[in-house]
Symmetry: D2
């Protein structure tokens, strides 16, 4: 079983990222369950605006990233929160995945079917539920299956302040929830591997 | 396999409901796949505000409705669109289901785990994606699994007008999509019945 | 200048309500600026499902509540957060206001024009931005004007716990923001009273 | 009075854009009311990910675009709909405007105060209300005032198809609504120019 963790922080490497750190915790919980995990910090790559799988410009790195999505059984979408919403880097990635709506495997099944998605949200402030709602709706459109309670998040409560996931001592609920998230992702992925959704009537 | 279709129209029986009609199409597609379907028009029942499973008043009919949710393998949440959003009848139903967050089976599994949810949205006007995003996020919180492309909808395009799902001739995409929705709901439910999510570490 | 504060808590009087308490703080800040404030705990009233201004049943109290909305210059929509979203009591109230879309004053101006809306959100957990997004979109549809930074909220940060607005010591940002909210609501209301939006071309 | 229309299409110039065409109709309605209008097709410019006003890289064109936002009285945010949501180009633009939260004029007023925002959404499919909700929430956070009914949209109704705003004959409601939008934007802008929101207590 393979998982891809897509980190949509706005911070380029090697700047520390709270989103990467919490995605890393979830990756650890997946690895304890035998999942091979791979991380991508999306902002380190050029992803051009568009809704096609082909390269939009010579610089466009989406086609290679798309291959890694296609190879994964589990994709964890990890985003920071800005203005109470998901990041533009996450938005752009989901937008390129719009092309998957009409792409099928050789068996005629949409390419995202039988893949499972989970969510990680970090932020200084409120907005995790709004981020999860937007990511879940987009991925259900594309064909991913979303297990119950397949997310975790951390934020500080109301208003600005210096504290972030990377510096806080208050991680217990976030980690317990992230561990359950890994449990749920693995269980639903296994069920779908053993009994995959067959070609739908509209494909 | 049993499905419960929850119709959150604002119209009391026997007034015709477009939402009921489209949910009925989806029920037909489920029945063709061997699913036993049951319908509830929620507005015909008293559902008191609250976040508990117990009756809030002597009139409260939620406890009996909750039993029907617990007996179902598949729950289809069907809502009209008002002001671009889901109905207050749907909102109230989801709100009562908040109590399920801390309820487990005798095996210690949250009661909504291994249940699968799908969505039907009708409207005069735009708003289906917003309704699906809100319902999906709430149900993922509660523990339902959402298969890819497990929804269908109908609306008329921009602005007011007389045309509704019940009167339109333009149902082809909505029905093709609703048929695929039934296919996906049944496939994921079967996978989870054969390989259910076990008790999670935080339950 | 008159303000109406609509508290959409699920708790009936006289049970204490964090949402009422924070709405009360905002009312105090409005009163300091000369605004006459009135509170309604919506759940104490019968509001039937529907999208009409007329009584839906003999028990329906919406028509009287609607009069109070029409008499107000400022309406503050105060909601608790359940499952990361606004309450069904708030949803039902907004839904009844859908009828205002086609109601005009004797001057032919939609009844909600030149009224100003603000938002209060309380919760144990994350969801304030999602609540504000949904309330703002619905009210902009209806015709209310939303001043910048016309909201405040309180929640505890990630995960469950006993702490709520009523019991917390950590109210400083929430109150500072609520005071600014009152400032902005009053300033925009005054501007619109002196220079109201005239009858629009589509009314 | 000056308006800036920000077109967040994914299509680079000179490819025709339905979003630009509908924004152009709104610009015409603003010009009839004496407003000087300026258009920007955002995707023709490099806008780096980030939440600062300063250039993030040598290629970053946000600082110049930000100047044009600051010079405008009215900003119309025009977006296409992909996966039922606003475009990544719009998301990135709003994200950079996050920096305005802490920027004030020489009078100590947040820079977005007394600016007015409106919305244009085009799409093949449903999603306009979700786009408006997200844009409105973000801009209210930043300090923009949103007049009632300050948006218009066009989409085709359910499912895919070739028809778009540029090719449709069915524009009447969209244009009538867009004309009212211009009326409302101008009226609220004028009211705020004559009676601006003064420095708030938290600035």
């Amino acid at each position: 079983m393979r998982a891809l963790l897509l980190n949509a922080t706005l911070k380029r490497s090697p700047e520390p990222s709270s989103t990467e750190a919490l995605a890393g915790f979830v990756a650890g919980a997946l690895e304890q369950r035998g999942v091979v995990c791979e991380h991508v910090r999306l902002v380190d790559h050029v992803i051009e605006p568009g809704v096609v799988s082909e390269p939009v410009t010579a610089r466009d790195e989406w086609p290679a990233l798309r291959e890694r999505v296609l190879e994964a059984d589990i994709v964890v979408f990890a985003t920071p929160t800005w203005l109470g919403q998901l990041s533009s880097v996450m938005k752009r990635t989901l937008e390129r995945m719009d092309a998957m709506l009409s792409e099928t495997t050789v068996a005629g099944v949409p390419v995202a079917y039988n893949k499972v998605a989970g969510f990680v949200v970090t932020g200084n402030e409120d907005g995790a539920h709004a981020c999860i709602a937007n990511m879940a709706q987009a991925l259900i459109d594309i064909g991913f299956t979303i297990p119950g309670q397949s997310w975790t998040y951390w934020n500080k409560g109301p208003g600005p302040g210096e504290e972030v996931y990377l510096t806080t001592d208050d991680r217990e609920w976030t980690h317990t929830t992230g561990d359950a998230m890994a449990h749920n992702l693995v269980a639903v992925t296994r069920a779908l591997q053993l009994h995959p959704i067959p070609k739908p009537p509209n494909a």
